[in-house]
Symmetry: C2
Subunit: 190 residues, 2 copies
């Protein structure tokens, strides 16, 4: 089986995080007027994502995306170049209007993920942030024009990389979402 290319940061193996990443600087792709954000602390729930909305580097089939507390995000340079891609979406993805990179995507709505912001760790200047741990919304790449006939080899490659593939989020996060929904509906029980 020819190897499937999923994302440049994982195609040659998933590099573990250092476990002691204390934060860093995210940059967009612009060589002048670069947008820069400072992130405090490490990322969480880092994963490959096949949804059609997440930013992907040129040629990549999947994005790699993680969360940090929104309070740990600070725009330090050229923030005026950022615009929200789709204000109706749960994740308010702020993209560089010039190069298109999504720099941060806070969740502000009443939701289990409220207070978290989605970022792309590959845009860190520093290495060592927590590695991706699973693949989400895998079937959705079909909506980006990937042939359904490739899905078996895509899922097999993720498993080979140690990233369990899911067509929604992983069980941990799906349980978090269901718990939030249960509390909201008044059906939650310990």
């Amino acid at each position: 089986m020819a190897s499937v290319s999923l994302h440049p940061s994982i195609d040659s193996g998933v590099k573990p995080g250092s476990g002691s990443f204390t934060g860093g600087t995210l940059s967009c792709l612009c060589t002048t007027g670069t947008v820069r954000l400072k992130i405090k602390g490490d990322v969480a729930h880092n994963h490959a994502c096949g949804c059609t909305k997440c930013w992907k580097p040129a040629g990549a089939m999947f994005s790699v995306v993680a969360v940090v507390p929104s309070d740990n995000v600070e725009i330090v340079e050229n923030g005026d170049k950022l615009a929200v891609v789709d204000s109706s979406a749960l994740i308010q993805r702020h993209a560089c209007k010039e190069c298109g990179v999504h720099m941060h995507g806070p969740v502000e709505r009443d939701h289990a993920f409220k207070g978290l912001s989605f970022i792309h760790p590959e845009r860190f200047a520093e290495s060592g942030s927590a590695a991706p741990g699973f693949a989400a919304f895998v079937s959705s790449v079909i909506e980006s024009g990937v042939s359904p006939s490739k899905m078996d080899s895509i899922r097999a490659r993720f498993k080979e990389l140690g990233l369990e593939p899911y067509d929604c989020l992983n069980p941990t996060l799906m349980d978090v979402l269901a718990t939030f929904a249960a509390k909201k509906a008044g059906t939650y029980r310990e």
Copy 2:
């Protein structure tokens, strides 16, 4: 680990289908004025489902539900006792107004599942219909009041029964949904 009770038809093991089931009669629970449907042929995509909308027998944590072509469903007795539970839902679940059993749930909207009807094989008088093959919407049972602390043992029990647990549908059906979405959006590629 104490065994978790998921559904009476699978708790003591999944009974394989005969492979030659040619159809049968579904009944509701009423002892008088019983609603009866004739189903032609075997069921497909039979699975345990944790969603909050599917009918479950008394005390069951999951439903067991499958599909047949809607054209293979014929109401033969007391159809006047059927009413649609939620007309805004994708699946038009027709329930017996007296005992509550969902007898058939056609999908009529423009959707990958259009032309299929969801039924509960446990209501067949005859044995031998195709066995459940996976578990869907597992995390959703939290929304019905199942403690999040039980999710590990629930997923482990499904695996033990040979039913892979998913928090959405299984990869085959998720790929079918994504393919339908891609064709509708004009992004589909072979």
